[in-house]
Each structure stands twice: as structure tokens, then as C-alpha cells.
Point group: C2
Chain length 412, copies 2
């Protein structure tokens, strides 16, 4: 029997009506002849309520008890979804993580999946069950305690089940109807993509397009799980949403497939750093120890044995970065003339696997920005992405201009 994994997020199971709507979608796939594994999140708001109670009870909580508490929200929706399907005469039952079992390591509250037992669920499929409803986001540790997978863990659960059971596809139902060329809120010409390659999705996810959790995309890429993102609030055809898949399945692609932005970036520069071997390791080791998420890094050429080191991080981590670097300077472990922070920048990126085979994308990008009078402060590039920092006030203009210039409103 061909098998599908369908995942419904918190807003898609927020109340009994929405659970019923989601169950109807599942019923449609069952009617087509699929066995289905449904992964559910907690009703939206429930997990936050539980997390709040834990934090209020114990600021430095025991993560094992945190997991025991916050995992309960998914148990509720799993049972309700199974009951709803049964009411529709679809043979279904619920499974909690430990019942599957979904085995994880012992890293409570951010556990990694180690193994998914397929025997129990496959046995029930063999006995005529059509839908296994699984509580997402949770597993069981080697010590037999409940673990949770961290934020976005239900997406990851869904992809892991699709991999373990060899599902034909993993459909992620959410509150948006797919992946867009850019954020429709700041560019009205934004176009929904029919397909996008894993690598592109990864870059877009890590750039703040919060449709899919980065970890779930990585997992899908590794196990070649076809992922589809679609809305649970619209009638769906087989071609709805956006398919995230191997680039080989995308016949022709635009050179650039997306323009992403990140609003709250800051640029910091250590001026006149002694340019000796290991200096970068010292600076970024210091920042890493301080918990600063460094993103872009640029080192200018050296002059008289001294150089300028520039990096970017979220604006709310600037103070932490300054404290850490100045402390190193005082201890004599680091030598720089001055630390300059610019907290008024935004990051704009163009992403596309077509860049690998086509040159001139960077030049085009820089010309577009220059034509709009936008000054570029920092540039970094990867194989399929070019990112720049610009003044925040130009962010929306830059996104719109690039979207136009690369003709992202037109399908390839």
C-alpha cells in the first residue's frame, strides 16, 4: 500500500472544527488508496501555556520534567484526531512517541531522533488500520523517559517518519499555502513556487522564511524525502502548495528562485586587529563562548600587519558581543584599536541553484542595488546564495528591486 505522511501544525488543529477539517483532508488521501501517518502538533497556544507554567515553577528547570509536561499537548490532539477519523469511518488510532517507539538520545528538550520502530505501526496497517495518528515533537530516551525535539520538532518528526516508512511524500499542512519567491507582505509581486530544491529551501529557511524548520529540511535532503508545504485552510488539489525536492526533479529553474531578507541585523567591526595566525579563531571563539550567533564574516586585506575584522549578528546580541570582546581585550588576549557597531542594517539575499552554472548573478545584483542608490556594506557569497548588508531603511526597496530585476514574478 503506498504511504503518505501528513503533518498538521498548531493552527491547523487549534480547535475541534479545525481538527475535523484536517481529518477530512486525511480522508481524501485514504480514499485515493493511501495508508497515512498523521503527525500532529498541540493546539496552538497550548505548548506555550505549558512552557510558561514550567518556567514560572522553576526558572532553571529539570529538562526531563519540562519534557514530561510540554509533550502532553500533542497527546491530546493525537487522540482527538484519531476519534475524528473514526467518526468518519476511517480506521485510525493514536500513538504517543514512546508507543511507536520513536527513540531519541537523552538531550532533553532538544533531543535528536535515533531510530523509529516501524513494526508496531506496520502491524496495525496490516490488520486494516488506515491511519496512524502520531503525537509529534516527542520521543523516548534510552532511560525510558519522555523527550521532546525542540521547536519545530513536529516538522522533523514528520520527515523522520516519512524516511523510516518509505513514504511517497511528506505533506506539511500549515497556515501559508506554500513557499514564495519572497515575503508577500513586503513585495506584492511575490509568487508561490511550485517546486524548490532542498538546498534553496535550506538557505531560505535559515534566512528567516519560517515556513519549514531548517532541521526538517536537512533531514529530508539527507533521506531524499519529497516534502510538500501547503495550506490547511484551502481546498487542495494534487498540485497545491510547494514541493521541496531534489534538484534533479526540477527540470528548469530560474537562476534566482528567491529573495530573502533579515531585518534585525547588526554589523560589528574590530578595527586594526593584529593580523597574526589564529586571530580569527580567537575572536570567533570568544563570541561563540558568549553565545553570539555570528552570521557573515569579512576580513579586509592586511596593512602594516594589522587588519579590520567585520561580522554580523542579530541586533539583540550586540551588547553581549561587545562585552565579550572588550573583556578579552582587557585580559590581553586580543588586541584591536576600536570596536564599531552599526545596528541599523538589514541582510538581503538572493538564492538559486541556477547560480552554480550561470555567472553574472552577483554583478547583476550589485548593479540593481547601485541603480537604486543603495550602498552595500558587506558582501558574502556561497555556491547558491549572495548576501549583502544594506542600511535598514533600504530593505524593502532592495527586495522589490531584486525581485523585479530577476523576474521572479514570472514562472521559469
Amino acid at each position: 500500500m503506498p504511504l503518505l505522511v501528513m503533518k498538521f501544525g498548531g493552527t491547523s488543529v487549534a480547535n475541534l472544527d479545525r481538527i475535523r477539517r484536517a481529518a477530512k483532508r486525511v480522508g481524501v488521501e485514504v480514499a485515493k488508496g493511501y495508508d497515512v501517518i498523521v503527525i500532529v502538533s498541540a493546539m496552538s497556544g497550548k505548548t506555550n501555556e505549558l512552557v510558561g507554567w514550567v518556567g514560572e515553577t522553576s526558572p532553571l528547570y529539570d529538562a526531563r520534567e519540562y519534557d514530561a509536561v510540554v509533550s502532553s499537548g500533542e497527546n491530546v490532539t493525537a487522540g482527538l484526531m484519531a476519534l475524528t477519523l473514526q467518526e468518519m469511518d476511517v480506521p485510525a488510532r493514536s500513538w504517543q512517541g514512546w508507543q511507536v517507539p520513536l527513540k531519541t538520545n537523552s538531550a532533553h528538550s532538544q533531543a535528536r531522533i535515533e531510530e523509529i520502530g516501524t513494526e508496531n505501526i506496520n502491524q496495525k496497517f496490516g490488520e486494516g488500520m488506515k491511519v496512524a495518528v502520531v503525537a509529534g515533537f516527542q520521543g523516548i530516551s534510552p532511560e525510558g523517559r519522555i523527550t521532546t525535539l525542540g521547536r519545530g520538532g513536529s516538522d522533523t518528526t514528520a520527515v523522520a517518519f516519512a524516511a523510516a516508512f518509505g513514504a511517497e511524500r511528506c505533506d506539511i499542512y500549515t497556515d501559508v499555502d506554500g513557499v514564495y519567491t519572497t515575503d508577500p507582505r513586503i513585495c506584492e509581486k511575490a509568487r508561490k513556487l511550485d517546486k524548490i530544491a532542498f538546498e534553496e529551501m535550506l538557505e531560505l529557511a535559515s534566512l528567516g522564511a519560517k515556513v519549514l524548520q531548517t532541521r526538517s529540511v536537512e533531514l529530508a535532503m539527507r533521506y531524499k524525502v519529497k516534502l510538500r508545504v501547503l495550506s490547511s485552510f484551502e481546498e487542495q488539489s494534487d498540485e497545491a502548495g510547494t514541493l521541496v525536492c531534489d534538484e534533479e526533479e526540477i527540470m528548469e529553474s530560474n537562476v534566482v528562485n528567491g529573495v530573502a531578507y533579515s531585518r534585525d541585523e547588526a554589523k560589528l567591526t574590530c578595527l586594526s586587529v593584529a593580523d597574526r595566525p589564529g586571530i580569527a579563531a580567537t575572536i570567533f571563539g570568544c563570541l561563540s563562548d558568549a553565545g553570539v550567533n555570528v552570521d557573515m564574516i569579512v576580513q579586509n586585506i592586511s596593512e602594516d600587519g594589522r587588519t579590520d575584522m567585520t561580522f554580523s549578528c542579530p541586533t539583540d546580541q550586540v551588547q553581549r558581543a561587545e562585552l565579550a570582546l572588550n573583556a578579552y581585550k582587557e585580559k590581553g588576549e586580543l588586541n584591536f584599536a576600536e570596536l564599531v557597531a552599526d545596528t541599523g542594517v538589514a541582510k538581503i539575499s538572493v538564492v538559486g541553484i541556477g547560480m552554480r552554472s550561470q555567472s553574472g548573478v552577483a554583478a547583476k545584483m550589485f548593479k540593481v542595488l547601485s541603480d537604486e542608490g543603495i550602498n552595500i556594506k558587506v558582501i558574502t557569497t556561497s555556491e547558491i546564495k549572495i548576501s549583502v548588508l544594506v542600511d535598514r531603511k533600504y530593505m524593502e526597496l532592495a527586495v522589490q528591486a531584486l525581485h523585479d530585476a530577476f523576474e521572479l514574478d514570472k514562472a521559469s
Copy 2:
């Protein structure tokens, strides 16, 4: 290490403040040198919310899914209680039913406890854990699915743990401060009992004094578990509340220890029933099949081969009883002249193990009621209880008069 079981009901863990207050009580017992097993209910209102969702989703629900859903409330409080204790530097952890394991049969939503594994928890006590917090009301079936024990299941869980672990005592914390000679709301002279025998408590519980669930008292009696009922809202001494124990531990007891009442009773009489062997079996078999909870049964003497058969049941089951009996009559399986219902009666009972050795209690009871001008409609007696039905308008007067006459306001 001596061991205590402490059980906190829904109102005692209704929010984080109350959980904190309950945890402090646990801390007091730990400081005295006890290892403690804490049994928690769900926050008050939570189980009803979950039950409501299940009922709305599926009127004829799959009880296995019902159990998976409604058991989640206790998981939340168990984790939060463990965290609260940890914050107080009391080594604690939570256990869900399947982790203990608390094994039950497969009668979902009203499962019976079959076995409690003591190994896991005792191992942790051996490693220095002082408190095991166990989610009440839930267990695991032979098929590995979550079961619940039905209403009042947390009391039963607590007693079963006390029996399995050989606890010195099982303290039931609730929103009343003990067991009273009668309901203080209708008799201001009602006195809290320091001790009461299991048998008396059973009669009182089944008569509607809702302090303890009947099943938990039965279990405590069978395994000779000392039960103490006390308030979680008052500062407690070692002698607080009411101890429910073996009658041998009660040195001297009043002849009568309690006056119970049940407001919504109805009296039904089948007039002129053919008095042949098996007639009672036919009538009460019919009522049982219809789901009528028959309480008192009285058969008058026979005259000319016909008799009157009188019984009582809750008023809201009268219609069901009438329909069932009349249907039997129409089918010719039963023959009676008329079915007369009196829905305006109440049941008054006096309970006391002292009755076994002392005569004249019944005579005294009837005289007291007669002196007040209260007509007795039906009488039944057991070894330690005498019950009568009277007009409902006399209910409070009857309770007060009997409480006075048997001097229940005075300690023995």
C-alpha cells in the same frame, strides 16, 4: 526508610500556587524522614475540559482514545509538582502510569488495577530520590495502551500504591478537613470524626458523603491501608483530618457514628404482583438491563397469591424504570396491577459499627422520627446501617433530630 503516600486532588493542584502549597506539605513529611509517593490529579476543570472535547468529537467514542486524551491532565501536574519539589531542593521526579508501570486490565475508561511494579521507583529511592510524583488515574493495558481508572481513580491509585509499597499511611488531601458525623451544611452541630472504621466509611461513601471514592475505601479495607482524609488548605498537625482504619484501631466508638442522607430518591411500587418463584429476579433483572440503579428493596407479605414489591432509585431514573417495567408487562413477562411512583422522598441512614453489639438502635431511630411527626415509608437495615425513606420536606429535620438523639456532637 518509612514511606508515606500523599494524594492531592484537583482543587489542591488547581494552579501553580496551590501546587507550591501542596509541595510544602510534602516537604514537611520528607523533613521528618519519610520517603514519599505523591499521587496527583489533573488541575481542577482540566479533565472535564478534555472529556468535553472527546464527547463533542465522538459521542460514541473509542474508549482507548478517550483514555489517551484525558490522561494527559495528570501528566502536566505530575511534572509541575516534581519541578516545584526540586525548586525546594527535594530530590523528586515524575512518573506516568506506563513508566511505573501501573498495570491494569483492558477495560478502558474504567480499568481495574492488576499490578504495580515497585522496582523502578524503589531503585530511585535507593539512589537518593525522596519523592516519586505519580500521575494518578492512569495505567497501561496488556496491549501497551494507556488506560484510566474512571472517576475517583486518583484516590484508588493512591491506596493501591500504599498497599504495593507497604506505606505507613495514605494521606488524601482534599478540600474538606475530614469526615463528619453528618453534612455540616444541613446540621450545624456536625462534628469532625478523628477516626472512622472502613465499614462505616464505605456505608457513608455509598450514601453520598463524597469525601472518598467507594472503590478506594474497599481497596484500603482489603489491604488494611490506613487512610487519612485531610484538608490541603489548612496548616496540618499529625492528628489533623480523619483516620479511616480497621475497627480494631478504634478503642471506643459511639454506637452510631454518622447520619447520612440522600436527597433525590424515588420510591416505586408494583402493586399486586403475582407472587411466584422468580418474580423478584424478573423485576430486578428487567431494571438492571435498563440501567436502573436500584437501592432499597422491600417485599410485603403475600395475600391471595399476590404481593406488592417496592424499591427505590434515583429520581432521574424513574422514567427509565417505568418504561422498562411497562414494556415487560405488555410482553406478558410480568403481571402487576399498577406501578406507583413517589418522587418526593429522601433517604436517611444512621451508620455505626457499634450497632453490631448494641440493640435498640432501630427502635430509638423510629421513635425519634415519630416524635417529630415524620412518617417512615420504607425501612431497610444492614449490620451497621439502618435506612429509611421519608418525605423529602422532612429530610433536614430528620438528620438534625437523629444527630441530636444519638449525641453525635459529643466525642465518644
